[in-house]
């Protein structure tokens, strides 16, 4: 049953067969996309018409490859900008929240912590619509009462960033808290007894200790933002992010250029995953 116990061959091979089937199920969509990105065809699926790089490099009437598809490239760029802004915000506020909830004692701490982790169990669509409703309300109020036209409150880049940050900070908080739990408070006490202020102790003792978790939280929130659709769709202005652009193409005008861009994402993630595997092994 486990490594140290003997098993019948039937059980052992049956189990292994199921695991193989599972991993085929897992990688099948990724393999299908990757192979068909190189199909010399105008349809996204089979049959196979031979190898071609058209969907990456072509620039003809019939075929526009990924590197000439300005709308698609633009949406990738917007997604990168959004993900960067969201990950920076989420990591900073997530770190502050972790320090606050792990190391400080104050009234209503339990209640605040409840709200801080609530985004884990709130569907993304709910966060999207409720932030849209309240930002529109505030925007209208500023406009009619004070004549201020504040763009931050209407759908667009910053509203998407703040919408995604509302749950991104939760994930950063959890990742950083997990490491902070292993922190030896005596280190900070030593700094305090040597006349450091609390903020100096955080800056020079606690933050360096948290560095791996902070980098991890930045990477995780960046990827979450890059892939997010459910919250983003409600807060988007005239500049779609990559998932929103992909969605409308899949629905209305799918060409194999979608396979090409998907292949690039799969390739990128695989490289990142391989790097993380080797750096973890070194430790």
């Amino acid at each position: 049953m486990i490594r140290s116990l003997p098993n019948s061959p039937m059980y052992k091979y049956g189990y292994r067969f199921y695991i193989v089937l599972f991993f085929i199920f897992l990688v099948l969509p990724l393999i299908a996309i990757s192979v068909l990105a190189f199909n010399d065809s105008n349809s996204i699926a089979l049959p196979w018409h031979g190898f071609s790089l058209d969907w990456f490099f072509a620039h003809t009437d019939k075929r526009v490859g990924l590197f000439h598809d300005t709308d698609l490239l633009r949406s990738i760029w917007i997604s990168l900008e959004t993900a960067f802004a969201m990950a920076v915000l989420s990591t900073i506020v997530g770190t502050m929240a972790a320090l606050l909830f792990e190391q400080e004692r104050f009234k209503f701490k339990g209640l605040l912590y409840f709200f801080a982790i609530a985004p884990l169990v709130i569907p993304g669509v709910i966060l999207g619509i409720s932030i849209l409703l309240s930002s529109t309300y505030v925007g209208d109020l500023l406009d009619t009462k004070f004549g201020i036209d504040a763009e931050v409150f209407s759908p667009g880049f910053w509203l998407v960033v703040f919408g995604q940050f509302s749950f991104g900070a939760t994930y950063a908080l959890l990742l950083i808290s997990a490491r902070l739990k292993k922190f030896d408070p005596q280190l900070e006490e030593a700094a305090l007894s040597l006349k450091a202020t609390r903020l100096q102790a955080i800056r020079y003792i606690t933050i360096p200790f948290l560095k791996p978790a902070i980098i991890g939280a930045f990477a995780v929130t960046f990827i979450m933002s890059f892939a997010n659709f459910n919250t983003t769709i409600f807060l988007i202005g005239s500049d779609p992010t990559l998932p929103v652009e992909l969605f409308s193409r899949i629905k209305f005008s799918s060409t194999p250029v979608l396979n090409a861009v998907s292949f690039m994402i799969v390739l990128f993630i695989t490289i990142v995953a391989t790097i993380s595997l080797f750096t973890n092994r070194k430790k």
Binding site: F22, A32, T197
Partner: protein, 283 residues
């Protein structure tokens, strides 16, 4: 103000801004908006948005259908991935465990839009499955797999199941192998060990995973919209329609609030039945 107090407010204020402006106020706004009637500027509270929900069969039936599907997919995710979680933590040679675990994460990081698109390519009339079956001579014309409840369920399972696997693996890792060995030495059957030792120990992970899977499935839009058929009923689609097509935001707010209530209720029940706290879900 002493140094400690200064540090406390330095941490507290950004966290409070995050929780109040992006979590608490928007949800209150969602609740209030759901009692307003579209186009009626008088601020009288009205139950109309909710009576429409109960009067029109299409709305409450879709709602019910979505909840039942979400519970079904959650159970399926457990059945499909539990053997995998057990294999990766207790059976497979430790050399391969980290590599295989990383392979589980790749589809998560690649993102829902890309993997769902992959399933479009696989399940379509000229998709990988139909073309393979025709090539093997098993069928002579394509069978309809795409745009059915079947393809929708595959997509929902695929995008959510790994959120079950990972927490279950975390709890299984903390299970001491010698407990299983002892039970086996005392003559317990595999089934007894599974039911009396493994499942009870993994329960917190199963509940955590189940909660996240349920929330993701009930709030998903991409898989039902892209992979589901025209007659397919999914409640988030009603919310999207109200917000993005008919622009009846107050009706949409009522639907959103109902979705939030049902998902919170199911999660609360799961926590009560298993004697767990929400604070533990994230860990």
């Amino acid at each position: 103000m002493s140094g400690n107090k200064k540090a406390f407010y330095f941490l507290l204020i950004p966290v409070l801004l995050w929780l109040v402006l992006l979590i608490i106020v928007p949800h209150i706004d969602l609740f209030i908006s759901s009692f307003k009637v579209d186009g009626d500027s008088s601020s009288v509270f009205s139950l109309e948005n909710y009576t429409i929900f109960f009067k029109e069969k299409i709305y409450w039936f879709t709602f019910l259908n979505t909840v039942i599907y979400a519970i079904g997919i959650t159970l399926l995710a457990f059945v499909v991935t539990f053997p995998v979680a057990f294999y990766l933590t207790k059976v497979v040679d430790k050399k391969y465990a980290s590599f295989l675990t990383l392979m589980l994460l790749i589809p998560l990081w690649v993102g829902e839009l890309v993997t769902i698109y992959g399933w479009v390519i696989i399940l379509g009339d000229h998709g990988v499955i139909n073309e393979s079956l025709i090539w093997l001579g098993i069928i002579d014309k394509p069978i309809t797999l795409l745009y059915t409840n079947f393809s929708m369920s595959i997509g929902l399972l695929y995008m959510s199941m790994l959120f079950m696997t990972i927490p279950v693996m975390t709890t299984l890792e903390s299970l001491d192998d010698s407990l299983i060995e002892a039970a086996s030495d005392l003559g317990a059957s595999k089934f007894t060990i599974f039911r009396r030792i493994i499942i009870p120990h993994a329960m917190p992970g199963i509940i955590n995973g189940g909660i996240i899977v349920f929330m993701l499935v009930i709030g998903d839009y991409v898989a039902p919209n892209i992979l589901g058929g025209k007659s397919n009923l999914w409640f988030t689609e009603q919310i999207y329609n109200q917000f993005l097509s008919t622009f009846n935001w107050n009706q949409g707010a009522a639907f959103g609030f109902l979705l939030l209530v049902i998902s919170s209720a199911v999660i609360w029940m799961a926590l009560k039945l298993s004697g767990q706290k929400l604070e533990k879900v994230g860990s």
